[in-house]
């Protein structure tokens, strides 16, 4: 062992001064693969439904390819050291989402959603490109902490002024487009949390009084962050969007833990979460109803009212089995309302099977892992917290909605990142991927001992 150590030590080359190879070639290959896979899915739907290639296949492939290529060129130009994985994963998930929505459009001829989703995807990729081009260093964001917090609060409160849609006040309708401002608020809040915690990290960790073996921070440090968090969660409860409030809560606890390293925060977080859950479950009838549905998904069948959405979703997943029915050959449309948005995963589960569903989960897992890896490689606390926060945001969101539609946890309405119909969500997720690309580029340059320091 010692010998090996010595060998290693002596064989260790001097700190590499050669520029690490960029991975843009890998990225381009993976993007081409992602676009081809999406076009293949699009063709498979057409073949299964009509026995012929769908007329728009070439256009769809070209559109997606051009979008991906533009994003790739932006990365190549302005973030050449970036991780090669996030962009292709985003392209593949977005492309697959478009295929699934297009496939469901065939069942609901009066209500096509794919064209709108394509427009939003274009906007998303455009925003990705803008972020990569304009934001040369992620630490620029640190200077706008308060702007981010204020903007997040405005976005969160705005929909209260608009009429409720399907029981939730989370949409703004402008010129035929529905916007869900809460989606954008996610990124802004993640930036705010990361920046604030990075700035007050030591104060949070070391000052304050000790109670029951736990170090409690002073109110002066913790006050603003708890206030912002309380307001955002309060607004969400008022807007009856519990999925998002759960998401913010999770994000808050994860970042607090990572920033301070205090396990006590997890305990406090879980305690608060369970108290909140019990209180909301008692007070809000529709939350109580969601929990009942989760515990007894087939109660409505036994009551003679027919299967509810969750039961239909479970039926769809079960029909898929291991291999799936094949694209275009399932009947997930039986789920009815929200089949293209909250329940989009059921279509993937039925038509692609456990194999396809696992692949999708692993893609998300890989994306999250790349985020965490960037976080580990970065040196500055803000960058680390931001990378971890954005990755955790994705992970929690996937868990909350995927767990909800598969009956693992009570269902709360939320968009499956990239897959689900919903413009705000797609744009937000492209922004998250853009930030991850930027962070990974910074990480490489920092690790490279480059100029950034």
């Amino acid at each position: 062992m010692s010998k090996a150590g010595i060998t290693l030590a002596t064989a260790d080359p001097p700190t590499p001064t050669v520029r690490l190879p960029g991975r843009r070639g890998i990225e381009l290959t993976l993007i081409v693969l992602a676009v081809l896979l999406s076009v293949y899915g699009y063709c498979a739907v057409g073949l299964a439904r009509n026995g012929s290639l769908p007329p728009g296949a070439a256009g769809y492939g070209a559109g997606l390819g051009v979008l991906a290529l533009v994003a790739h060129l932006a990365v190549r130009w302005r973030a050449p050291h970036a991780d090669p994985l996030p962009l292709p994963i985003g392209v593949l998930l977005n492309g697959l989402g478009l295929v699934l929505i297009y496939r469901l459009d065939l069942e609901t001829p009066g209500d096509p959603a794919a064209p709108t989703q394509l427009i939003w995807s274009t906007l998303g990729v455009a925003l990705f490109t803008v972020v990569v081009l304009v934001l040369r260093d992620h630490r620029a964001l640190q200077r706008h902490t308060l702007v981010c917090a204020a903007a997040a609060l405005v976005l969160l409160t705005a929909p209260i002024l608009f009429p409720a849609v399907n029981g939730a006040r989370i949409w703004i309708r402008v010129a035929g487009f529905s916007i869900q401002p809460g989606e954008f608020a996610k990124v802004l809040l993640a930036v705010f949390f990361a920046a604030y915690l990075a700035a007050n990290r030591s104060a949070l960790t070391y000052s304050g009084r000790r109670v029951w073996g736990m170090q409690l921070p002073t109110g002066r440090v913790l006050g603003p962050i708890v206030a912002v968090w309380l307001v955002s969660v309060g607004v969400l409860v008022l807007e009856r969007d519990l999925g998002t409030s759960l998401l913010f809560f999770g994000l808050f606890v994860v970042l607090l833990y990572v920033a301070t390293g205090r396990t006590g925060w997890i305990a406090v977080g879980l305690l608060l979460a369970s108290l909140g859950a019990v209180a909301v479950g008692r007070l809000e009838s529709h939350v109580h109803h969601r929990i009942e549905t989760w515990l007894h998904p087939f109660a409505s069948i036994e009551a003679g009212e027919g299967p509810n959405q969750l039961a239909q979703s479970l039926f769809a997943f079960a029909e898929g089995g291991v291999h799936g029915t094949g694209l275009g050959l399932g009947h997930s449309v039986l789920i009815g309302f929200a089949v293209k948005s909250d329940f989009i995963l059921a279509t993937a589960g039925e038509e692609l099977g456990l194999a396809g569903l696992s692949a999708i989960f692993l893609l998300y897992g890989l994306l999250v892992e790349r985020g965490y890896r960037a976080g580990l490689s970065l040196r500055d606390p803000f960058g680390r917290l931001l990378a971890v926060g954005l990755a955790s945001l994705l992970a929690l969101q996937v868990f909350v909605i995927a767990g909800g539609v598969t009956g693992l946890i009570p269902l709360t309405g939320m968009a499956m990142p990239f897959l689900a119909q919903g413009g705000s969500s797609v744009v937000t997720n492209w922004t998250i991927v853009a930030l991850l690309v930027r962070l990974s580029d910074s990480a490489r340059r920092q690790g490279d001992g480059g100029a950034v320091r």
């Binding site: 833990y257 039986l334 456990l354 696992s358 989960f361 965490y372 929690l396 868990f399």
Partner: protein, 485 residues
């Protein structure tokens, strides 16, 4: 901080694992339970995704499928629905299926593994075969003759080929159009409610699903039992029977509808349908021999399938002598389906052999290849061939110079037996008119057809009710239709 990031990452990994494990639970472990849930419409969607196989009569399909373009895509249609309803039954998206549509459902819907080109092929390809066809034994001319004959009445006809057991006609009137029930919309619901509320029960297949007291037609069984048991040796010997006959152990007197029954011979008694003679004969034969003969014909068999289940015809085995006397003339607890009585006539016509009746000649793939062939089924001997010969004589006598002259067909040998069955509280109901018969063309080697006709509301005037008057002409029309073809 690095350590905490790793821990948070581990937490995310745990979430991923939880999702994967749960997905496997839903999609693999619980999949069968979810797929089998009655509220899951996928099975129904798959089932109606393709046209259903057809039911064929004389090479021509009497069913079809209509593409509705709806979620449950193909709906059943019927040509001559009311005529063939007692054969086909209905196949409804809402109310299940009955009769052949039910018993051959796996084949018609394409789910039958026998349709697959290779074993486990469908499991592998996740596909369903095109529905197979069911070729019936029905003779369309006989079916139509029976249906036309019963038209404005209420009753049933069953006709079989005595030498094979093939069912040639199965008619129940009033009938209904099964096509009305095919869909799942308002029309089907209304038709379902109306048909179920109808006091005439048009969806009841009277030929196989309902039993009637067979009345005097049961004297065929009694005579055969008496002859086989040696109670009667000479058809023309006086039977020493009084008129009226006092039921053993009671003071009840049994009378006859016709004269000349006192001390009549078996031949005279059969020709003129003397209750007294056959009641006494049944008692003399004894419950053991009577039961054995009835069961040999198929009575008390609860598992006759053609392939759908035929209602059990009964001959009570726990009777005292007075009850046996009544049971022997087709009253008391003796009940029979029209198909059962056609089997009785068929056994006489074919030398005492009883052949299990069947309705499905063969089943085929959509392309025409045979999946299975029924062929003649099991044969059992109900009576000695010599007894059968004498029974033929007796039944011919009824048609030639007895109560059944209305069934005579020029150029054919016809044997028959009339019946008028009392029923209802204190025998107050309109009696059922029966006629069972068989026919053999002069050039034929064997009898071609055996038929049983029951008419529920034979006539408004009670005095004129007779099997010979109302049921025999229908039987003749059916037999002529078979002999002509």
């Amino acid at each position: 901080m690095t350590r905490h990031i790793r821990r948070a990452g581990l937490f995310c990994a745990l979430l991923l694992v939880a999702l994967l494990v749960n997905a496997a639970r839903v999609q693999v472990l619980r999949a069968d339970a979810y797929e089998g849930n009655p509220a899951n419409r996928r099975a129904a969607i798959a089932r109606y995704q393709q046209p259903r196989g057809d039911i064929l009569v004389a090479g021509r399909p009497v069913t079809g499928s209509r593409d509705t373009g709806e979620h449950l895509r193909y709906e059943r249609t019927y040509d001559d629905g009311p005529l063939y309803a007692p054969v086909t039954g209905f196949a409804s998206q809402e109310y299940g299926s009955t009769l052949l549509e039910h018993s051959e459902d796996a084949l018609l819907s394409g789910a039958d593994p026998a349709l697959a080109p290779l074993p486990l092929w469908n499991d592998f390809t996740r596909s369903r075969n095109a529905g197979g066809d069911v070729v019936t034994t029905i003779d369309p001319a006989a079916q139509r003759a029976a249906y036309e004959g019963l038209r404005s009445r209420k009753g049933a006809v069953a006709a079989v080929d005595p030498s094979t057991g093939r069912i040639l006609a199965l008619v129940s009137v009033p009938s209904y159009d099964p096509g009305l029930l095919s869909g799942n919309g308002r029309t089907a619901r209304e038709a379902w409610a109306r048909l179920n509320a109808d006091p005439d029960k048009p969806m009841l297949n009277r030929a196989v699903q309902r039993t009637y007291p067979p009345g005097s037609t049961f004297k065929v069984v009694t005579a055969a039992a008496a002859l086989d048991a040696g109670v009667v040796t000479d058809l023309d010997e006086p039977t020493d029977s009084p008129d009226p006959y006092r039921l053993p152990g009671t003071t009840t007197r049994l009378t006859n509808g016709s004269r000349g029954c006192a001390d009549a011979s078996v031949r005279e008694a059969f020709t003129h349908s003397c209750n007294t003679v056959f009641a006494k004969l049944g008692v003399e034969t004894g419950v053991a021999d009577m039961t054995a003969m009835a069961q040999a014909f198929g009575f008390n068999d609860a598992d006759v399938r053609v392939p759908f289940l035929v209602a059990r015809s009964t001959f009570d085995t726990t009777v005292d002598r007075a009850q046996l006397a009544l049971a022997s003339i087709g009253q008391y607890n003796t009940r029979a389906t029209p198909l059962q009585m056609a089997m009785v006539a068929a056994a006489v016509a074919s030398g005492g052999q009883v052949r299990e009746p069947y309705l499905v000649e063969r089943t085929t793939r959509a392309g025409g290849g045979t999946v299975s062939t029924t062929g003649p089924r099991s044969v059992r001997r109900a009576m000695h061939p010599s007894t059968a010969l004498r029974m033929r004589e007796l039944m011919r006598g009824v048609v030639e110079n007895g109560t059944g002259t209305n069934a005579a067909i020029p150029g054919a040998v016809v044997g028959g037996k009339t019946g008028t069955a009392q029923h209802g509280l204190g025998n107050s109901g309109t009696p059922y008119a029966w006629f069972v018969s068989w026919a053999q063309g002069h050039e034929d080697m064997e009898a071609k057809v055996a038929v049983a006709v029951v008419v529920e509301d034979a006539a408004a005037n009670r005095g004129e009710i007779s099997g010979g008057g109302t049921a025999a002409p229908i039987a003749r029309a059916v037999m002529e239709a078979v002999l002509d073809s």
